[in-house]
Symmetry: C2
Subunit: 439 residues, 2 copies
């Protein structure tokens, strides 16, 4: 099957383990198959390929997520990068053009669009697979949706009202997130949760896209993406389309959108350097710092620590985190990058200290800073630096100094660990000019 995984998402929901570089779907706290931790996106990828080893997966995402996706999934998936934010309809149109023009998917082939981060069991992707088959059938509706059988009257989800209780039924209406009482009334009439999964023939979406947007094909759309209007798939397609069917799904489906729900699916109640006394109850602790956390008498709490900050919250309250994170948000203090990772160790008025890990065979961009000097101390590994065109080999203990204005890069011949000290009165990430480097 052809699958477009929509990977958007905020870095605030699972703060401080998610940030503006690492959205919640990349936080590696679930239990993987071999006992190691995996992220939601890794879990979903594993489940999809178990259901359909030949699935053609395109992750539709923003530029800032690309490094993390490649780090977590390798090059096993295609990544379709939105040059800028234009809501779901242009994003899906871009991914569909990619499937058609780059991957050669035929116009009659079905395509399923699915959020990248549902927490589900394997039967869910069997249902996704069937959805693709339904959408690809000759007598298919223009749009086929997955509807989840509700287990309680939730006010957090939108509802699909099907015509009948059959496994597949015409849809008579969509309802926005209702209050709990209204939700209960919908459910009594057979309503289903809208889990954001829908399928169509490729030609259907491309026609809709060409009707609304002026573009020739994938390359052209990508190039002129910033000229497109922001519009959601619901508004552009679903609300205009009379021919929609819903397929029921009765298995487990969880939208782990906050610490409260995420705690239910975490691999272990305590991850990292954590000590809990025996009076702690229903408490989840994740510690990504390398200092210990001691918890005593904690009841029904979630505690999380990273280089970005520390959260100590009652589980119920944790779903209200967003405005607080907005108050404290600054530059991300840790990030996976295409070349490795960085962690900010210390920020002082005139100095910032960072630990950089550069994976074997990778290198930093060749760049300079106008307003800060930098010093690298090589801690482990071997590699080369280039400073204003001069190449030098470096080993553990070596020190490289880069005054403001000096063009510099670091190349990892084996995996490198480096401590970087930035010195200056105006240190900020925007102070960076990149250059070509031909070695």
């Amino acid at each position: 099957m052809n699958l477009i995984l929509l990977s958007g998402g905020s870095g605030q929901r699972l703060w401080p383990l998610s940030n503006n570089i690492r959205s919640k779907q990349f936080v590696p706290l679930l239990r993987g198959e071999n006992g190691e931790y995996e992220s939601m996106v890794q879990r979903v990828y594993r489940q999809i390929t178990r259901e359909d080893p030949n699935a053609r997966i395109v992750v539709a995402t923003a530029k800032r997520q690309v490094s993390t996706i490649l780090n977590q999934l390798g090059d096993k998936v295609d990544v379709c990068v939105e040059p800028c934010r234009r809501d779901t309809f242009p994003a899906i149109a871009l991914a569909c053009s990619y499937l058609a023009d780059v991957r050669g998917v035929g116009p009659e082939e079905p395509v399923v669009v699915c959020p990248v981060d549902p927490y589900v069991d394997d039967s869910y992707f069997a249902a996704v697979h069937r959805l693709a088959e339904l959408a690809g059938a000759d007598d298919a509706a223009n749009l086929t949706l997955m509807g989840v059988e509700p287990t309680y009257p939730s006010a957090k989800y939108g509802y699909i009202i099907p015509e009948t209780a059959d496994a597949v039924s015409r849809v008579t209406a969509f309802k926005e997130k209702p209050d709990e009482q209204t939700a209960a009334e919908y459910i009594a009439k057979g309503a289903l949760w809208n889990c954001g999964v829908f399928a169509f023939k490729l030609k259907y979406l491309l026609q809709a896209a060409h009707a609304r947007m002026d573009f020739k094909g994938f390359a052209d759309l990508q190039q002129n993406y910033d000229k497109q209007k922001k519009i959601s798939f619901d508004y552009a397609v679903v609300e205009q389309e009379p021919d929609i069917r819903a397929a029921r799904f009765a298995g487990e489906w969880k939208d782990v959108g906050s610490w409260n729900t995420f705690a239910e699916v975490m691999a272990d109640p305590a991850i990292g350097k954590v000590l809990m006394d025996d009076t702690c109850r229903d408490t989840n602790v994740v510690n990504q710092l390398n200092i210990p956390i001691i918890c005593m008498g904690c009841q029904n709490m979630v505690i999380a620590a990273s280089s970005d900050g520390i959260l100590v919250s009652d589980k119920q309250r944790s779903s209200h985190i967003k405005p607080f994170v907005e108050q404290v948000e600054g530059e991300a203090r840790f990030a996976e990058k295409s070349w490795g990772s960085f962690t900010v160790l210390d920020v002082q008025p005139e100095a910032t200290t960072i630990r950089i890990v550069l994976n074997e065979g990778h290198r930093l961009s060749y760049h300079s800073h106008e307003h800060r000097d930098e010093v690298w101390t090589i801690v482990t590994g071997t590699g080369r630096t280039v400073i204003d065109g001069t190449v030098r080999r470096v080993h553990p203990g070596d020190v490289v100094t880069m005054p403001a204005g000096a063009k510099h890069t670091l190349i990892a011949d084996t995996a490198l660990q480096v401590v970087e000290v930035q010195i200056g009165e105006e240190i900020n990430v925007a102070d960076k000019t990149k250059f070509e480097l031909n070695l």
Copy 2:
């Protein structure tokens, strides 16, 4: 008056803000007179000198606390350093010998011994002052104690049983920490809390000391301190002495021995980078890291973070912290030193990164390491390094490399801030050889 302040104490009670270098009495979280934060020892010093501007104060303490005491009190107090741990009787004998031999205190003069960390109002030190006068009178008992009028039947304190309810009374018995019911019975009979404050004429204690220990005077006792037996003042003196009186004190007295009690006297519910939502209740948060803590829905908790670790505890449970701290305790990751301070920023298998602040006019010892290379990056200030005898001026941005074996020091001509990277497979604080340096 002559006052011996006993400054011992564990670094575990207020972990992670106290550690094996900074005991709880040095944690600066109380509200000082001018709005700034002060420690228990600073508060006590301020109260004593307000009561008696001419008080002669000797702090009896261990070597590891000397830098912190001097940093917090300056040279306004005498410090009598116990060369090793020998319990309270040898420590008091050493301080009394110091008063007699170094400070010229006469044999008939009264001396008061007092813990360094009671949380009290000013009337307490007025009572201490009266205690000195009582002990110095011609008809004084050999030993005069302060007894605090109990406000509840506590199982945490020892009790003094006085003969009468008079302001000053003979003591008929001492009782160890009882259970609450027994405590209530004691209190019904007029018992007082033993707050560890007692006074005597200097000659009394020196006679007792010479009777039990073989020494000539202060210098001799200090030199042979390690040969003395460990013995408590209670066992060596109080239990043998029939002539003891107690003076009643009816004011506020608090033994802030755990986070639970310390939280009651903290200057602010939130200190440092802290955000609490409006559903937090009766919660104290102290953050000494420079990343934010967000607290939501916390009820009756204490949360504290430093470079040593993070505590998240129900207030009641926090008094049971000790065994957990023992499990996580390693090298202290931050400390005030006589020359400034250090903070460990990062510990990796083969590298440790530290921020060093060196106060103006101070210098590090001249030393070398056998098993690690070190790199200093000067961040702010100016000074000089000496590496294997060679002096060099340093400024911000300068880098100094010290291979294993190289003798090195750093001298602060103005206050220096330095990032130190230690590199090696066996990094530990014991790997340090000191040398003489004559500039």
